[in-house]
Amino acid sequence: MIPRVPSRRVRRLLENLEAYAFLLPAIVVLGVFHLFPIVFAFFISLLKWNMIDPVRPYVGLANYVQALQDDKFRTALGNTTYYAFVSVGLAIPLALFFAVLLNRKLRGMSWYRTAFFIPHVTSLAAAAMVWHWLYNPDQFGLLNYLLDKVGIPPQRWLLDPLQAMPAIIAVSIWSSLGRDIVIFLAGLQSISQDYYEAAQIDGANNWQLFRHVTWPLLSPTTYFILIISMIGAFKIFALPLFLTGGGPISKTLTIVYSIYQQGFQYFRMGYASAQAYTLFAIIFLITMLQRRVLAHRVHYDI
């Protein structure tokens, strides 16, 4: 029997079918856990719904109006902005500094790199428990123990309205530093040595090498880290959840924490979804702004 030669169309379909088969798991997961919730959340942001009441009246944009008038949501917005700018503002220079230090040929360099990366692959929940102990407000906390050694009275850290957010920022930098360093290192290693040699022949010193070769050529990497760090920072949730519960007196209440509180503690799903969409709008605006202001300063080559 002569096998029938499939037509081109069928053949292409079969080829694509294989591709679709490989894509299917990802499509299903993204569809069920990302796309559907995104669409559904917008739908319920227009309702007043507590998840279990069969009656869920349509309220239009009332939830959005409420969010804009809600003192607590505004507090969360302020706290999150403070967190985002301070944590990203400190993390990027620090990461760059360590990346430059680690971008050398030294014995045992891979050990140092690993050491910086470990916090990033540690479960944040587990790490937060450890930090909770370090920040213990009486003299048993390691930080207060060290302060006591140099004669400084014990601090209340996570329980102090002024110290709580900086304490959270410190943990978040500790945790994300490794990721930023690795991305910076990749950026640094993709800069051709030729530029450095040429600059050295022209008599450039170390600072000038950094300022006129490394910094501009690293700008795509810096830009990338800035964008993803900002987006990540506006979504901060796990650390306040584990370390402070949004307290003291709402000083570490962030937007996502507020969404969680409204949605899963007070079961106001409609209002929580409206806050989530408001957050999306904020992140979208900030990212657009960054593109506008910074994109033309990014050099992809000299």
Partner: protein
């Protein structure tokens, strides 16, 4: 291993049958299986397993699976998610303000249906349950839930310390201040022991409010009343203990560890806290129990959860669930539950039973808790109360941290709480 086509089919059939038997409901004649979701952790968990096992042994036709779901907060989240997904348990533990929400959503069935049903309770059996507990389970005149693990606030004190200093447990606020002064100890400019501890929580404040003659809501229930002069004075009293008299400190955690370490001589806690305090103290000193010190009126705050039967359960499961609830809240079980966990017995007959009498003779400190039941008050059992609790909590923190005066903090909280109440259907 070589498996022929037939062998394969046989295995497939076996697997299919096994799976089917696991997921399909048991046929007629098989035992009725019901699930009981609870939040009883630590030392309380074995107590609940024991109750369940006893019931299962006595009732061969019913299998109760008691399942620990995490803290009360987690239990609430899982419960709402399970109701939304259409797969709730048969019975759940729940706070009165959760019940309000579940009733509105038609997710639970009234306990009254079963109390008045064929296998129900007689009038005496029903009125045997303490009135205050029945009141907290009643919504719009219908009893929707059954009181199960109910507790109330009492004062724990270090009895050895009191004896050494010839002190009596404080009955009033003034006593509390004076005793705290006597027991606060300084060494080298550092306070090594405080008389009292202030946890900046809603309940610490509410206790001061009600022992000062204050109320939660204004008559009619449309507005809150916690920012009354009684409330302001109560909050100020807590702040003064810390800042003016320096006989107490602020702690954002459970106090049993500090109490056991001798850092504090007294604290306020609910009865089951005794199991945790005993574990922490480990016999180093005797733990005394006294009613909450008062200023204007003796009072304490009722706490703890009830049980409810879910509407989604099939009738046979609901009947079995009622049987279980009737058992665990019956005189014998609730007496044993009290002696194991120190939760309140829910019935007068249990409190007055020979078993309890003998137990109280050997452990007279429990009398304080049982006696407090007569003056116990219940917070409003409305869904909004859960968020109002958080609002009060923040006001207490603001005042304790000195960000606002007691009056300002409570007035601001009242505005927010009233706004919530005004939206209530």
């Amino acid at each position: 291993m070589q498996v022929g086509r037939r062998g394969f089919l046989r295995i497939a059939a076996a697997v299919l049958l096994l799976t089917a038997s696991l997921i399909l409901p048991a046929g007629a004649g098989g035992p009725v299986t019901i699930t009981f979701w609870h939040g009883m952790s630590g030392v309380l968990n074995p107590a609940i397993d024991e109750l369940t096992n006893d019931f299962n042994k006595l009732n061969p036709g019913i299998v109760v699976n008691a399942q620990y779901q995490g803290t009360y907060g987690t239990l609430n989240q899982k419960l709402v998610a399970a109701v939304a997904a259409g797969s709730p348990p048969t019975i759940t533990q729940l706070f009165p303000n959760w019940a309000d929400q579940l009733i509105q959503a038609k997710a639970i069935v009234p306990m009254e249906n079963f109390i008045k049903g064929p296998d129900g309770l007689s009038a005496e059996e029903l009125s045997d349950i303490f009135p205050i507990l029945r009141q907290e389970s009643t919504f719009n005149g219908v009893m929707w839930t059954m009181p199960f693990n109910k507790s109330l606030y009492i004062l724990f004190y270090n009895e050895d310390l009191f004896k050494q200093n010839n002190l009596k447990p404080p009955a009033t606020w003034d006593d509390l201040l004076n005793v705290s002064k006597a027991l606060t100890k300084e060494e080298g400019g550092r306070t090594t022991r405080y008389g009292f501890v202030v946890r900046p929580t809603t309940d610490y404040f509410l206790l001061m409010l009600i022992t000062n003659g204050g109320d939660f809501l204004k008559p009619g229930g449309k507005e809150v009343a916690f920012n009354s002069p009684a409330g302001v004075e109560g909050l100020q009293f807590l702040i003064d203990l810390v800042q003016k008299h320096k006989v107490a400190y602020v702690l954002n955690a459970f106090a049993d560890a500090d109490f056991a370490a001798g850092k504090v001589a007294m604290y306020l806690v609910t009865n089951p806290g005794l199991a945790f305090a005993r574990a922490a103290v480990a016999g180093r000193f005797e733990i005394g129990i006294a009613p909450i010190p008062y200023k204007k009126s003796r009072a304490t705050l009722l706490s703890g959860t009830d049980v409810a039967i879910m509407a989604k359960a099939v009738p046979e499961q609901q009947v079995a669930a009622w049987k279980f609830i009737k058992f665990v809240t019956g005189t014998t079980a609730t007496t044993r539950w009290f002696m194991k966990t120190f939760y309140m017995p829910v019935r007068r007959s249990a409190r007055d039973s020979t078993l309890a009498r003998v137990y109280l003779q050997q452990n007279p400190e429990h009398r304080a808790g049982l006696d407090s039941l007569a003056v116990a008050r219940t917070a409003p059992n409305i869904a909004e109360w859960q968020e109002i609790r958080d609002i009060i909590q923040e006001a207490v923190e603001e005042a304790v941290l000195g960000k606002k005066t007691a009056k300002q903090a409570l007035d601001d909280a009242a505005v927010k709480a009233n706004k919530l109440l005004s939206q209530r259907k």
